[in-house]
């Protein structure tokens, strides 16, 4: 664990245990901290609980035991409505399959968080910011297009743009390079790192691609994980 994490953690997990319903799989994370502004990669075999960990950090799921504190808020202790409100305002999520809404335009997809929660108010400044971020990541001329008419790389950029538009202090990305060719993989990782760096945001990326690990300051390895992360490496 880094010294920074100890001093100013954005993610702080203690004694976490999580199980889906009555299933056999159980995620157990005794302790994990990620510092503000840190860029962390999470690796491990399929089914080891990497995505679940992101969902617990974002408050999409709640643990049966333990405590998850994200950006100073004990999300594991919030009720459903409060977790949604926290998530949409404080956390930017990039999903593995991008999860864009096909019948919406690129701009509508980027502004989607502002359409689905009253805590976020859509105004001209927000639109301008969305257009600026989109232009910055190379999809400024695609804002009027349907999401279905974009290439894989462009869809990924839209997903990143959506995650950034509410200016979150924490960016969580679930296998963002999973379906991309090597060239696009580098571009997406560059994009995530640069975007997080530019905004001083903390970045946690789940990935299967060990070639990408040197790009991150720290790796959390879930190898051979069943009951707890096997190693936390600096």
């Amino acid at each position: 664990m880094s010294d920074t994490a100890k001093t100013d953690p954005v993610i702080q997990i203690d004694g976490l245990r999580f199980r889906y319903g009555e299933g056999e799989f159980e995620l157990a994370v005794p302790e994990l901290e990620v510092a503000r502004g840190e860029h962390v990669a999470v690796v491990g075999p399929s089914g080891s609980g990497k995505t679940t960990l992101l969902h617990l950090i974002a408050g999409i799921e709640t643990p049966q035991e333990g405590r998850v504190e994200t950006a100073g808020t004990a999300v594991s202790e919030l009720d459903d409505a409060a977790r949604r409100s926290f998530r949409i305002q404080r956390v930017g999520l990039v999903f593995q399959e991008f999860e864009l809404i096909d019948h919406l335009s690129v701009l509508d997809n980027v502004l989607l968080p502002y359409r689905i929660h009253p805590a976020l108010r859509l105004d001209e400044a927000t639109r301008a910011r969305a257009e600026e971020i989109a232009a910055g990541i190379g999809i400024g001329d695609r804002l009027g297009r349907r999401a279905t008419r974009l290439s894989q790389g462009e869809r990924q950029r839209v997903a990143v743009c959506r995650a950034l538009v509410a200016q979150p202090e924490l960016l969580l990305a679930d296998e963002p390079t999973g379906n991309l060719d090597p060239g696009n993989k580098d571009r997406v990782v560059d994009l995530l790192l640069e975007s997080a760096e530019a905004r001083g945001a903390t970045l946690v990326v789940v990935t299967h691609d060990h070639d990408l690990l040197p790009r991150f300051a720290r790796t959390v390895d879930f190898t051979a994980f069943q009951s707890a992360p096997s190693a936390l490496t600096a």
């Binding site: 949604r84 949409i88 999860e99 509508d108 689905i116």
Partner: protein, 393 residues
């Protein structure tokens, strides 16, 4: 526009075909029972009102309904004609006033009704411009017909040939418009009224031609025998009755034998009505007398029975359509499970997602309801006339 409403709008706009089909189906479900009910009720009311204001009709034996429809609505397919003598018979009975009706010819799509001036008085028709027809060859045009044909007093209108290829058929007669009737909102508005004798001229039973006794007409004379002159085919027959040739018009044969479609009998009182009805009950009676209200009641009873079956069928189809529409919505929600999951994962409240889905349903129903309202208004405004036209076609 709020977030859920905007997202609902975008979804419906993107899936235009599905939305249009749902809107159409729900519009029809909402409109058909109300519209049909309205159409039948309104047309029934109009048909009954006209029939109730017509006491008795005398006509050739045959379909009572055809006789009533031809006499009240000047249907394009008139019943068999009877002798004008039947009108004289009614008058002679002193039980009723006889108003002859000759409904056979048309002029540019409008019925040419041969009758007498008593018809105008009986129906309470008022002349809005000009005057009633007074001499042979003049006509009085109903308000809607005048508007349609752009006719005003002093203009002329020519009768239409019954069949294009009938070379031996009736001549077309150019009639002078003597006046235009004020609107009465009845079938009279669509008719062109002429004196019954003018109708006989159109039928070829009366005619005018150049004087064969005059020296200038010698080329038209085939042969002369004592006081009898036989003309050849070159004899000029007039197709317009003017003050100059009016005197040359004449009828051959006994006027009592000339045809009329029906006689409208207006009894002097209830007793006269009953007595008149009794005079036409003999089994060998060549003509029949009918009470239009009773005939129309029979027709409407049949129509209302059919309406009940049609409404029952519509109810079944509507129920099935609603089930299918509900299924489409449910399947749509299932197909959009991933989209809904994404919204939840991003932080959408369940109520927001529910509001978005509900807004889609409500928008479809609202648009369908509005369209059904427009259709109902249209059917209320024009449906009665359409049904009447259908019944009379």
């Amino acid at each position: 526009m709020s977030g859920p409403l905007y997202l609902a709008w975008r979804y419906l706009a993107h899936h235009r075909a599905k939305t249009a089909i749902l809107v159409t189906a729900i519009t029809l479900i909402a409109f058909l029972p109300i519209g049909l009910n309205q159409l039948v009720s309104e047309s029934g009311r109009q048909l009954a009102a006209r029939a109730q204001s017509t006491p008795l009709l005398v006509g050739e034996r045959g379909s009572r309904l055809d006789l009533v429809l031809a006499s009240l609505y000047f249907a394009s397919d008139p019943p068999a004609a009877m002798r004008y003598a039947e009108a004289e018979r009614v008058d002679a009975s002193e039980l009723a006033t006889a108003i002859p009706l000759h409904v056979r010819f048309r002029a540019r799509g409008h019925s040419v009704v041969g009758t007498t001036l008593e018809y105008l008085e009986f129906r309470g028709l008022r002349v809005a411009a000009g005057r009633p027809m007074a001499v042979l060859g003049e006509c009085l045009v109903g308000a809607a017909a005048a508007r349609d044909l752009e006719l005003s007093p002093g203009d002329t209108v020519t009768t239409s040939p019954e069949t294009v290829f009938d070379l031996a058929g009736t001549y077309r007669l150019r009639m002078r418009v003597a006046g235009v009737l004020a609107p009465s909102h009845t079938p009279d508005d669509e008719a062109i009224f002429v004196d019954v004798k003018t109708a006989w001229v159109i039928e070829g039973l009366g005619h005018g031609h150049q004087d064969v006794a005059s020296p200038g007409a010698s080329s038209a004379v085939l042969k002369r025998e004592d006081d009898r002159v036989t003309a050849n085919a070159s004899l000029v027959e007039y197709n317009e009755i003017t003050p100059e040739n009016l005197a040359s018009f004449h009828f051959h044969g006994d006027l009592a034998e000339h045809p009329v479609s029906a006689v409208l009998a207006v009894p002097r009182d209830e007793k006269s009505r009953v007595l008149l009805l009794g005079r036409y009950t003999a089994p060998d009676e060549a003509v029949q007398i009918v009470e239009p209200a009773a005939v129309m009641d029979d027709l409407l009873a049949t129509v209302f029975t059919v309406r009940r079956y049609v409404l029952a069928a519509i109810a079944l189809v509507s129920a099935a359509t609603l089930v299918v529409a509900g299924l489409v919505f449910l399947l749509s929600v299932r197909l959009r499970r991933r989209e809904i999951e994404t919204l939840h994962k991003l932080g959408a409240a369940r109520s927001h997602v529910a509001l978005m889905l509900a807004a889609e349903v409500v928008a479809v129903i609202a648009v369908a309801g509005a369209l059904a309202g427009v259709l109902t208004w249209l059917s209320g405004s024009f449906g009665g006339a359409a049904i009447r036209a259908f019944l009379l076609s």
